[in-house]
Symmetry: C2
DNA sequence: GTGCATCATTTCATCGATGAACTGATCGTC
DNA sequence: GACGATCAGTTCATCGATGAAATGATGCAC
């Protein structure tokens, strides 16, 4: 007695209502063959005893847990917050809760996620890798019920919701060229990650597009940023502005860095886009309210969230066979900063 | 054959390694009494069979799930994102995963959280209520392992990590008065929520402080904002700026609205703090990088996260008895916007 | 050599809900 | 009035891991 957790089981509820535990289960799961009077009696007993379903037991029996895992680098980057929020909304439609795991973009954490140490209590995994890439395919084995987000980084048959990083980056860059900017720089390169990472792909698109206009990009115009944080954007911009010949436009590889860049510009008493134009990538909610409002790439975050969850659901329900790949469509959102 | 989920159990692993399932359990949980040679054999079998622990079964047996639930209004508000990220970091120290539930600040969702429909698979709940308040105490019953965040809204014996909303609001307001601002307005009032909500308490602090300086607040200087979103801040500010006698300083009840307000000011071609000063509340990461950098209240988010998780852990481990209340200490962070 | 402690592993029951199969009623139909 | 169908509820086994207690083996002391 004086149990720490005074567990009430279906059997207890049944005892009180004069039925079996099984009938309680029938009532709670909406089984049709239950007399109205019995149903009421059971529900009353549930109430009186404060009964709560033990989902561990149910999961053990049914094999479904009612939750999925979303693994992202970190909530601190607006895009991932935006994405997480939307995925949670989509997941709700499938009666799923969402466990969020921050990998910190660390390789070991990403491996831990895949090896399933933490994924176990989960009907599926939506995973945005950062440190992993080609060559890590073997770590995906045994992970059915897995949807990869971001670019097509693995040469493995895995469900995948991709963003057209290269094209989107070209789109942004072309816009800057078309607007007549002459000295165009970029913030967000990261030579230490895989060539299939967003960093590399966006840089690719940036370079390719400029090259197609016969433009050469000086090395110092490509600013390395490891974390893609606000500070990276600010520091990178600061560096660009201190150059003898600063750029007149900067493509930030995500909106978060773009906000940092806008901050750095303002801190110098300069203004965007008059002194330097800024274009971002992600179209997070804050973009519209930045000072000045941020011109940016809309990567189709909502579609990504929806497709990722639906694809996972289809997989869990066995409705798909081969690996599926979906590309979200991206577009440019022109505001004031460029 | 051809099972959808080809489940490998401890018994299977044991069979392969020539031991019982129980021994496999001993190996995996680091039980000391296992011969090194056996351990190795078992681990090899684990590897070969791709064994993964079934956490549902473990949870059923042990009563612990390895995850906690964090229920917040929505990730879309910077403060909650910030909080969630920090709580996840703290939770990691206790080997907890975090399930995030967005309540949308809706009463029904908040009740659903408390009634535990979704809380079941969870060792505990950290809950920031919005729509609930005094009078809803009965819904807390049966929720041991519950830590309430935000203000002391319930007259019930519940663990609680509080923010000194009234004092913090007075602090911010006093600062504006001290700086010599004459016409001080506020954005974020919400008459539809409980008198114990952050909205009411911060308004309280605002009014009280101004009154203590003999200032009267015209009704139209208190702008209602239901969602505390970016847009609310922008729209509210816009309204203030269109008044015949606009304020010269505005206290936004959260940073997110403050960013919206800064946006509205800039959109009019005005500047902060010269035309209107803005002070926020939360000191989220973006505050430092806003244009201009936002003067705001630091509510001790980090302490809140740490205390909330530690308190929950203590409760789960039965290390505390009576309900505990902790107040985070807040302070003013002066930047440029006011 | 007996007795006792320690070690390595096993046996067995159990956590709580649910799938499958079953039992008795009740009902409608021919 | 007999028979199958439907309904309301039950019984039983089971999901996979683990706590508690048991087993057998080994070692050590006297």
């Amino acid at each position: 007695m004086a149990q720490r957790t005074d567990t009430v089981t279906m059997a207890d509820v049944g005892a009180r209502a004069g039925v079996t535990g099984r009938t309680v289960s029938n009532v709670l799961s909406g089984h049709p063959s239950v007399r109205a009077e019995t149903r009421e009696r059971v529900l009353r007993a549930v109430d009186e005893l404060g009964y709560r379903l033990n989902t561990s037991a149910r999961s053990l029996r049914t094999g479904r847990t009612g939750s999925i895992t979303l693994a992202i680098p970190e909530l601190g980057i607006d895009y991932f917050t935006d994405l997480a929020g939307r995925i949670m909304v989509e997941a709700e439609r499938h009666d799923w809760s969402v466990v969020i795991q921050q990998t910190g973009a660390r390789r070991e954490s990403e491996l831990a996620i895949l090896s399933g140490a933490s994924r176990q209590h989960s009907d599926g995994l939506i995973f945005q890798p950062h440190a992993l890439g080609p060559g890590d395919e073997r770590h995906l084995t045994g992970n059915d019920r897995l949807v990869i987000l971001g670019d097509r980084i693995f040469n493995a048959p895995v469900d995948h919701v991709a963003m057209a990083n290269v094209e989107a980056a070209r789109l942004a860059t072309r816009y800057l060229v078309d607007r007549g900017y002459q000295r165009i720089a970029a913030i967000g390169s990261n030579p230490r990650v895989a060539t299939t990472s967003a960093a590399s792909l966006r840089l690719d698109g940036f370079r390719t597009e400029l090259a197609s206009h016969g433009r050469h990009v000086p090395d110092e115009y490509v600013i390395v940023a490891e974390d893609w944080h606000l500070r990276d954007g600010a520091v990178g911009m600061e560096r660009l502005l201190s150059m003898p010949e600063p750029p007149d436009a900067v493509f930030c590889f995500n909106d978060t860095m773009a906000f940092g860049a806008l901050h750095a510009i303002a801190a110098r008493g300069l203004t965007a886009p008059d002194d330097v134009a800024i274009i971002g990538f992600d179209n997070v909610p804050m973009a519209e309210f930045a000072v000045p409002p941020l011109t940016t790439v809309e990567p189709g975050t909502n579609q990504i969230a929806k497709h990722a969850v639906d694809l996972l659901a289809a997989r869990v329900e066995g409705r798909v066979d081969g690996p599926t790949e979906i590309f979200a469509t991206c577009s440019l959102v022109v505001r004031r900063s460029a």
